[in-house]
C-alpha cells in the first residue's frame, strides 16, 4: 500500500514536471501558429525536445546570487512556488481511485497552497533588492490579495451544490449535470481569478516584460529562474485540472475511459490559456484592481447569495 503510494507520488512528480516543461514548447508552437509563424521546430521531431534543450541550458547557466540581495530569502523563494504548486496536485482527482489524498477539506487545501505560492513571488521580488523586482513583488502582492478573495468566493458555488469540500464528492455530484451549467457565472469568475492567480497573461503584471524587465524574477538566473518558470506552468496545469474538477464534471464523460476525459478537458483549458495570452493585451494595474474589487467581487458575492438561496429553497 505504502509502496503503491510512493510509486504514485514519484510518477505524478515525473509526469507533472515533464508536462510543465513540455508545455513551454506547446505554448511557443501554439503562439507561433496564431501569429502565422512556425515556432521552435528544430530540436527533435517537430521540436518536441526543445524543452529538454532549454532545461540543459538552464542547468549549465551560472547560478548567480546578486551581492545586494537578501541571500537566504532569495534562494528559498523559487523553491516555495514549486513546493506549493506540487503539493496542490495531491488533492487532484484524476480518475476514480486515482488520487493521492482524498482530503475532506480538499478544496481548502488547494486555496491554501495557491495562497502560499504568492509568498514565493513577493519574497523573490523583495529579496532581489532591485527596483524592477520590488515593483513586481508589490504588484504581485496587490493582485494576489484581490483575486484570492473571489477565487475563494467563486468556488463556494460547487461546494454549496455538492455539499462537500471533498473533491471526489464534488465530481460525483456532477454525474447528471456539470456545474458549469448552473454555476456559469461562478465558472467565468473562477477562470478569470485563476488566470490572475497563476500570473498568466493578460494578468501577468508582476512579470510584465515590457514595463518591468522581468518583474519579480529580474535578478534570477539559471535554474532558480527555471523554478519560477516551471512553477508558472505547473500552476497552469493545476488550474486546468481544478476547473475540470469543479465545473466540468472531472472524469465524467461517455465512451472514453475517465482519465482520458479528465486529460481532454484539462488540455482544452491549457489551450484556452495560451489563446488568452495570444490575443489579449495586459491591463494597467489600477484597471486590474478596480475590475477585481468593483466588478468581480460583487458578482462573486451575488453568485454566492443566489446559489445559497436556491440550495435553501430546494431544501438542501
Amino acid at each position: 500500500m505504502i509502496l503503491r503510494t510512493l510509486i504514485f507520488i514519484v510518477g505524478l512528480l515525473f509526469i507533472t514536471l515533464t508536462l510543465a516543461g513540455w508545455l513551454t514548447w506547446v505554448e511557443r508552437r501554439l503562439l507561433a501558429v496564431w501569429q502565422d509563424r512556425l515556432g521552435p521546430n528544430r530540436v527533435g521531431p517537430f521540436g518536441t525536445l526543445q524543452a529538454l534543450a532549454d532545461a540543459i541550458k538552464l542547468f549549465t547557466k551560472e547560478d548567480w546570487v546578486p551581492p545586494f540581495a537578501d541571500k537566504s530569502v532569495f534562494v528559498i523563494a523559487p523553491a516555495i512556488i514549486l513546493i506549493a504548486v506540487l503539493m496542490s496536485f495531491v488533492i487532484v482527482p484524476f480518475a476514480p481511485g486515482l488520487l493521492l489524498a482524498n482530503l475532506n477539506i480538499g478544496l481548502l487545501f488547494f486555496l491554501a497552497m495557491s495562497s502560499l505560492s504568492v509568498y514565493s513571488i513577493v519574497l523573490g521580488g523583495w529579496a532581489s533588492n532591485s527596483k524592477y523586482a520590488l515593483l513586481g513583488g508589490l504588484r504581485a502582492a496587490a493582485q494576489m490579495i484581490t483575486y484570492e478573495v473571489f477565487l475563494g468566493l467563486s468556488v463556494m458555488g460547487p461546494v454549496l451544490l455538492a455539499g462537500s469540500f471533498r473533491l471526489t464528492d464534488i465530481v460525483e455530484a456532477q454525474q447528471e449535470l456539470w456545474f458549469v451549467v448552473p454555476q456559469f457565472l461562478g465558472f467565468v469568475l473562477f477562470l478569470i481569478a485563476g488566470v490572475a492567480e497563476t500570473r498568466r497573461l493578460p494578468f501577468d503584471l508582476p512579470e510584465a516584460e515590457t514595463e518591468l524587465a522581468a518583474g519579480f524574477h529580474t535578478e534570477y538566473s539559471g535554474m532558480k529562474f527555471g523554478m519560477f518558470f516551471i512553477g508558472e506552468y505547473l500552476g497552469m496545469i493545476l488550474l486546468s485540472a481544478m476547473i475540470t474538477t469543479l465545473y466540468l464534471g472531472g472524469w465524467h464523460g461517455p465512451f472514453l475511459p475517465p482519465i482520458v476525459w479528465f486529460l481532454l478537458k484539462s488540455s482544452f483549458f491549457l489551450v484556452l490559456f495560451i489563446l488568452l495570452r495570444a490575443s489579449l493585451p495586459r491591463p494597467r494595474l489600477d484597471q486590474l484592481m478596480s475590475f477585481g474589487w468593483k466588478v468581480l467581487l460583487p458578482l462573486a458575492l451575488a453568485n454566492l447569495l443566489a446559489t445559497g438561496a436556491v440550495v435553501l429553497m430546494r431544501g438542501g
Partner: protein, 171 residues
Amino acid sequence: MLSILRTMWDVFLHVFKRPVTIPYPEQKAVLSPRYRGRIILSRDPDGGERCVACYLCAVACPVDCIALQATQDETGRRYPEFFRINFSRCIFCGYCEEACPTYAIQLIPEFEMGEYDRQNMVYEKEDLLIAGEGKYHGYNYWKVAGAAIGGKDKGEAERESPPVDLHSLLP
C-alpha cells in the same frame, strides 16, 4: 466583453492561415534581381575591367569600407591597382553602385557571406572581379568615352565626331 471574445476568435482563426516563415536553409527566399547583396566588379564585353578608379564609390560609401588605388597602364587606360572592400563594415546600401559612372561596381542578389575568420571578410580585387558584365550588357565605357587610350585616339569613340582642326577654321 464581446470584443474580448471576438478578439480571441479572430486570433484563433489564424490556425487556418499559412505561416509566413521561410525555413531558411532548406527553403530559400525568392530575391528580386535588384536585391542588394554581395558587391562585385564587372567586366566590359571585351573582358577588360570596367572600373576606371575614379574613387566615386569610395567617396559615396557611408561606412568607408571601400579602399582603392588608381593607376594607369602604358596606353593611358586607368584601372585600380588594388580594390578592397571590407564586408565586415559594408551595410549594403548600394550607394557605390549609384555613384559608379561606368557600371563597374554592382550589388548582386547573394547574401550568404558568413565567415569564421574576420579577416576573410576583406575582399580583394581578384575576389570581387567576375567574368561577366553583370546587370548592364554591351556597355563598354572606353568605347563611348572621348578619352584617348591605346588603340583609340580622340574622336574615334562611338557616336563621336573627330575633333575639329582649329586651323581649318581660320579665315
